[in-house]
């Protein structure tokens, strides 16, 4: 599975990685990642996960600003450009993951990695992690969290719909557990990339 954006075939470093289709105990969908696929930018990544705009931009920007060590690069502008290739649900979480991987690929110093996880609560109160577009539409509430890799603290949260405090804690705990899988995937993906070059 390769999401390819060919700008200059010569310069492109192939470093794809794919997670196992059904990791036991994890209800996230299959994801794949490819890095350094664009020649012009300093770093780039495509993050494929499972098959409102100023607000979303601001959320992603603020999350990046919280982890990037900006003090090491004064008078520098870091532009993160996210292009949606296809949307099959959990878009914001996918954008966050792509942004993190791209920042790592570019070599930007960060104090932690971050990942995005989306939870959907249906009318009975059942929790579904990483919902598809259909599940999102039918859900009573959708909660998207960005968690950091060091202590799994909550960096960013945006929610839609009505839910109780107990459900929030439940979703947060589930998201923290799921984030482990995403961070492990980052690690594997990067290991594979650097072992080749």
């Amino acid at each position: 599975m390769e999401g390819v954006m060919q700008t200059d075939a010569k310069m492109r470093t192939e470093s794809g990685a794919e997670s196992s289709p059904r990791a036991p105990g994890c209800s996230l969908r299959h994801f794949a990642c490819e890095q350094n696929l664009l020649s012009r930018p300093d770093g780039s990544a495509s993050f494929l996960q499972g098959v409102a705009e100023k607000s979303r931009e601001r959320l992603i920007r603020n999350t990046c600003e919280a982890v990037v060590l900006g003090a090491l690069h004064p008078r520098t502008s870091i532009t993160v450009v996210l292009q949606v290739v296809s949307d099959a649900g959990s878009l914001l979480a996918c954008c966050l993951n792509a942004a993190c991987m791209a920042l790592v690929d570019a070599g930007v110093p960060m104090r932690a990695l971050f990942c995005g996880v989306t939870c959907a609560l249906d009318s009975e109160g059942t929790l579904v992690l990483d919902p598809t577009a259909k599940q999102e539409k039918e859900a009573r509430a959708i909660l998207t969290f960005a968690l950091d890799s060091v202590e799994r603290k909550l960096l960013m949260s945006t929610t839609k719909g009505l839910y109780s405090d107990a459900e929030l804690q439940q979703c947060l705990a589930a998201a923290q557990a799921a984030s482990q899988h995403v961070f492990r995937f980052y690690r594997e993906s990067l290991q594979r990339r650097y072992s080749k070059s």
Binding site: N62, E151, L154, L155, M156, S157, K160, G161, L162, S164
Partner: protein, 285 residues
């Protein structure tokens, strides 16, 4: 090493030169320069129904932050995919008069984010059932334009806007509309007005995170600027959350979030009590 002169916490030089250090000295004593405790809100006042040309209005003051909300009701054709629903269109305006950080021209990012936030609160909390705004399915419905204008910006704009919106919606009176069978025109009876059916009362509570650890409630403009993160919780009277808005910033543990929730519950009671008192004082009939 700081000069001995700077040790006095009331010295204004420190406030301008090293604002974060100035604040830290107060936060160490669990209080803030304006004398408030970490969990204390500024004095909140609300004035309902002050704009006579609007169908509903409210002015909210949270310390120095002043926000006014005016609601106008107009007719519109209902959306084709939901012919039995009306519209609620919020808009938050942060004009240059409220703070020097805003320039005139198209709405800046902060205004757009605030507008989106209010739209989300209306949508998530179901404060008004859009079906209540329908006059004749598929033909005519009400559209409520909610204009929220900030008159003075001193931090915590989201709490003030949410409160102003809620108070203004409680003040809205819509006239009775009947569709004439023969002419198919709408006939408005201005003498017979009724209040909107407000189903829930969402109240926003905002926090600022300092130095990645300390949480303070109701940040002023200066505190927001120095903070490393912000969090806004919107809760209704049953303790259900309509919005947990944390746009990046320092991380929070689950336990800290729990503290925020409990503070939000008490704030909801304070705001509801204030609003009920004001509305009761307004009704002479």
């Amino acid at each position: 090493q700081l000069d001995q002169r700077f040790w006095a916490p009331t010295c204004d030089c420190l406030r301008t030169v090293e604002p974060l250090e100035y604040y830290r000295r107060f936060l160490k004593e669990n209080c803030r320069p304006d004398g408030r405790e970490l969990g204390e809100f500024r004095t909140t006042t609300v004035n309902i129904g002050s704009i006579s040309t609007a169908d509903g209005s409210a002015l909210v003051k949270l310390g120095n932050t002043t926000v006014i909300c005016g609601i106008k009701a107009e007719f519109a054709a209902p959306p084709t995919d939901a012919p039995d629903k009306g519209y609620v269109v919020p808009n938050v305006d942060l004009p240059p008069l409220c703070s020097s950080r805003f320039r005139s021209g198209p709405p800046g990012e902060e205004a757009q984010v605030a507008s989106q936030f209010i739209a989300d609160v209306i949508e998530n909390s179901q404060i008004i059932q859009k079906e209540d705004l329908c006059i004749s399915p598929g033909k005519l419905s009400w559209v409520l334009y909610c204009d929220i204008i900030c008159l003075d910006y001193d931090g915590n704009i989201l709490d003030a806007c949410t409160f102003a919106l809620l108070a203004a919606l409680k003040n809205v009176q819509l006239p009775e509309v009947t569709i004439n069978e023969e002419t198919a025109l709408a006939e408005v009876n201005l003498k017979k007005k009724s209040y909107l059916n407000i189903r829930t009362h969402p109240v926003a509570t905002s926090f600022a995170v300092f130095d990645d650890t300390l949480l303070i409630v109701d940040p002023t403009g200066e505190e927001e600027h120095l903070a490393t993160g912000t969090l806004t919780v919107v809760m209704d009277e049953e303790g259900k959350l309509c919005c947990l808005h944390k746009p990046g910033g320092s991380g929070l543990t689950g336990a800290k979030l729990q503290d925020c929730m409990s503070r939000a519950v008490t704030r909801h009671k304070e705001v509801k009590k204030l609003m009920d008192e004001v509305i009761k004082s307004m009704k002479p009939k």
